[in-house]
Assembly symmetry: C2
């Protein structure tokens, strides 16, 4: 329970006196994975995904943390790999991303407030490139970049909706060239996706150089490397490339590293952390953003394909209340108390909403590795309701376990840990679209095979962009679909029950440094805003202890 961070490091074969172990305050240490020695991967990789989430979240992080602690309880040591949560939304309306109850990474306040500052390093590197781009325009634009077609943003750590669309470069020619521009949140930066996908420092450097800023006046892509920016950006990211070791509330180890968004980016923690973890721990638990159609699909086709990962098990988190919400019993709204109907036994609603679970189990089982359904139990769930979920898991040949990690910590996840150990078998993934070939064709495979769509419908802008990408020689990018997480389709109004649909593609963004093309299937916000009464208003430091309150 009260093991120190240095003890956890020793368990992982790290000597805390060695320079590979870099303390960051009393609660975190960064790990220089190269200096630590990479070793041979021998661990079992368990990937945690979920059904279509409600706005309340289904406890995927809680489940990932509980599972790591549960494995420890049954005598199997595990290392849990998570994303570093975004700082901005904590001040808005969202909670943090460090788990909750008795299944937390501690101290959760420090983690939710930016941890070891990697997000800020990403922001500085991103904004340095943006500044060099605008300085290039102002000092003669030798590369003939087309100022009206620049596709590269600036980023900010806070939820600052009024920076979504701006005009920069005003105030005269000494300041810059006026143009319309936009800001995103640090975690939406392509630089964050690059950090999460880089194999090593050299690969990071190369990917940063490959960032496409926009076309020149002849229509050719202009890259960060041409501005000479990638070296300086990698200097700013030197320490951010090291995963952060932290502890759970039960003293088990966690690696936090990179926090790419699961819509515009691929929503998985870093490849560096996962691969290193597999060399140091017999069990590695990692979590993907949103449902199997988003984070897990991107885990498979982007992260795992790139890193030759062979997961031993996929865990699909499900809650009774989510299925009830998907059945249409009530609307879940963040910050509002749940409708009483959701908290009352209703087996038929669970059966109706279970169409959503079936949808995700079809997606998950198609990828190949054994699947376990983890029911994150709430106090109001009844045995009859739970039996419905278990029955559906059995239909798909999946394992099943109830866990109560939020209330009981690792002790509440022993059954889940046993179910995972029983099911686990490292497996070659069955990719649902090819790694190469025409982009539109690969996208169609993805839409059909994963989403269950009848096909895709390309808007003229998307068609033009796909042709441009192939003309630029970037046809071998992977696909990163920006799609609502609140429905099985592209339309959040559809909710969690699948329906026949065709996927409309509005536009495509080039993220050549990250190695993917972002496919836009709806409006998406890459910079959250603050509401009329943001959480920040209730925050303060305790005048006596100095501890944050209101987080």
């Amino acid at each position: 329970m009260n093991r120190r961070l240095v003890d956890l490091a020793r368990d992982l074969g790290l000597d805390p006196e060695n320079r590979a172990y870099i303390p960051y305050g009393h609660d975190f240490a960064k790990i220089d994975t190269v200096a630590a020695g990479e070793g041979t991967a021998h661990g079992n990789l368990v990937v945690v995904s979920a059904v279509t989430p409600t706005p309340l979240g289904e406890g995927k992080t809680v489940t990932s943390i509980s599972l790591g602690m549960g494995l420890a309880k049954i005598g199997e040591s595990a290392l849990t790999c998570l994303r570093q949560p975004s700082l901005g939304p904590v001040f808005g309306a969202k909670g943090g991303g460090a788990g909750g109850g008795r299944a937390q990474v501690v101290p959760s306040d420090r983690i939710n407030l930016g941890g070891t500052g990697d997000g800020q390093a990403v922001g500085a590197a991103h904004n340095l490139l943006a500044a060099m781009l605008d300085a290039h325009l102002r000092h003669g634009n030798a590369l003939k970049i087309d100022p009206a077609r620049i596709a590269f943003s600036r980023v900010t750590p806070v939820n600052d909706g009024s920076l979504r669309k701006v005009i920069t470069g005003l105030g005269g020619p000494l300041n810059g060239v006026p143009r319309e521009s936009f800001f995103e949140i640090n975690e939406a930066s392509e630089v964050m996706a690059i950090l999460a996908l880089a194999h090593d420092r050299g690969d990071l450097r190369k990917r940063l150089g490959n960032i496409v800023l926009g076309p020149d006046q002849g229509g050719a892509p202009v890259r960060a490397e041409q501005l000479g920016a990638a070296g300086a950006m990698s200097v700013l990211l030197r320490d951010a490339l090291y995963p952060t070791l932290a502890r759970t509330s039960e003293g088990t180890p966690v690696l936090l590293h990179a926090g790419p968004f699961a819509n515009i980016a691929h929503g998985n923690s870093s490849l560096i952390a996962t691969r290193w973890a597999l060399t140091r721990s017999p069990w590695v638990v990692t979590e993907c953003g949103f449902g199997t159609d988003l984070g897990l699909e991107k885990f498979v086709h982007i992260k795992a394909r790139l890193g030759n990962l062979r997961p031993a098990c996929v865990v699909v988190v499900c809650t009774v209340r989510a299925l009830k919400v998907h059945a249409g019993l009530a609307k879940a709204v963040l910050g509002k108390p749940l409708d009483q109907a959701v908290l009352t036994e209703d087996v038929s609603a669970v059966e109706k909403g279970a169409a959503n679970l079936r949808h995700h189990l079809r997606i998950a089982t198609n990828f190949g590795p054994p699947v376990v359904v983890a029911l994150n139990r709430f106090p109001t769930d009844t045995d009859a309701e739970i039996a419905v979920v278990e029955g559906i898991a059995r239909e798909f040949g999946a394992g099943f376990a109830v866990h109560s990690g939020f209330a009981d910590g690792g002790a509440g996840a022993e059954a889940l840990a046993r179910a995972v150990v029983k099911a686990a078998r490292p497996t070659d993934l069955r990719y649902q679209y090819e790694a190469t070939g025409p982009l539109a064709q690969r996208l169609e495979s993805l839409a059909r095979n994963v989403y269950g769509a009848a096909g895709i419908e390309l808007a003229p802008a998307a068609r033009t962009r796909l042709a441009q990408i192939e003309k630029w020689g970037l046809g071998e990018l992977q696909l990163c679909v920006a799609k609502t997480h609140l429905a099985t389709t592209h339309d959040p109004a559809d909710g969690g029950l699948p329906r026949p649909f065709t996927l409309p593609v509005r536009d495509v963004l080039v993220r050549a440094g990250a190695g993917f093309a972002t496919v836009l299937t709806g409006e998406l916000t890459t910079l959250p805003a603050l509401g009329a009464r943001p959480n920040a208003v209730d925050m303060d430091l305790d005048p006596v202890t100095g501890a944050p309150i209101g987080l």
Copy 2:
């Protein structure tokens, strides 16, 4: 030489096992000065200032570091308090701010790249307030803030000139309210000045709440406290409030803390660091930005007056080449080799330029504490030239010593250390303007008594603003004059030789959280820009060692 950081901590009475000692990587530790215990101040405070600098810098940081090391060499232990350098200019055209040669804080690359991230924390806190301000406008503007008169910026860590003037809030009502706005660099933030001037956590919290954002439609000031932002801002600044312990290249201790600009802000390291240092070390050396007319004047009237500091000695750094440049022998341009004339013996040029030294010695000696002139010796300086400088020091009853800390480290600063020890005598400061009374009258005293101006000339905007400040009940703010550092007057074209002048005041900015009114006497840039070929282009990580190159 190779003493570890934990050994330095023990020398300062800190137990590295105690939670007051917070390691940040292998090279830095933050000190929770409250948890460490404040104790009684018994140290001698030595304040390092300079003549009017040339664009090349006169080695003030090198002198401060050398002096600390030189004191150690002669058996006196010293703690040197410096500002945390700004990240942005390192990628532009400026060098770092961690000293140089054999008088550095190490590792200088990490320090120049942001150290322990305090600047980024300041940026996040500042930008959270800006986001809450714009969200307030968008959600009905209950406080009736006048959007056209908002005086609060956003900040960025990079030299991004194209953000100096922007229009934000575009793209429709869900994003925000369109208005003209501006960005500054993190170090120009009022939040940075507050961090540097706060007595403790409670004072920080209060000052953050006192930030004036602009007038409401009735002309009354709207403060950060009214938006409910100050608590959340102080949460973001929790760790930034702890000074950073680091080592010099000779293993002596340094505290880095806060990096306010010496023009728009007061240009001195934090009061918290200086006061704590005085309880732990018999000698404390601290540096102020630019010449005695800027950093030292602000040290005296803002930092020392607030903190009841009684300096034992003021060191005025002078170089032979600066006096030659001030004599008009050549123009010094950053990044260009120095004109040969400056490098050749020319006693009469030194005598002519010495008018600048006399100007600064008059300012420094008027403040009361004993003064020592530190000649930062360059290899081309001749004995005859040095004798001129020594003669002028004697005219003012000041001590004098030559040092060669850049080339020789502490051994090259032993004579300077002895001169300081000999002169030192804790002294009540003679303030050159009153702490209270009409602002214009106090400003006139400052201009006459410090700058040697014949008086002040208030532009109509400045006059209106001063009246507004007094109407707002803020007449007791101190004065923070933004004035060129390259001349004794307000006009950089005047150079270093004093001439009769009247100080023109263009405008006045309210910085009620920091506790001063910023008096603008010329155009000033609070956001540097990148040139046609910024330093960033030459930076990279060494592919083998991973160490930054090109910094």
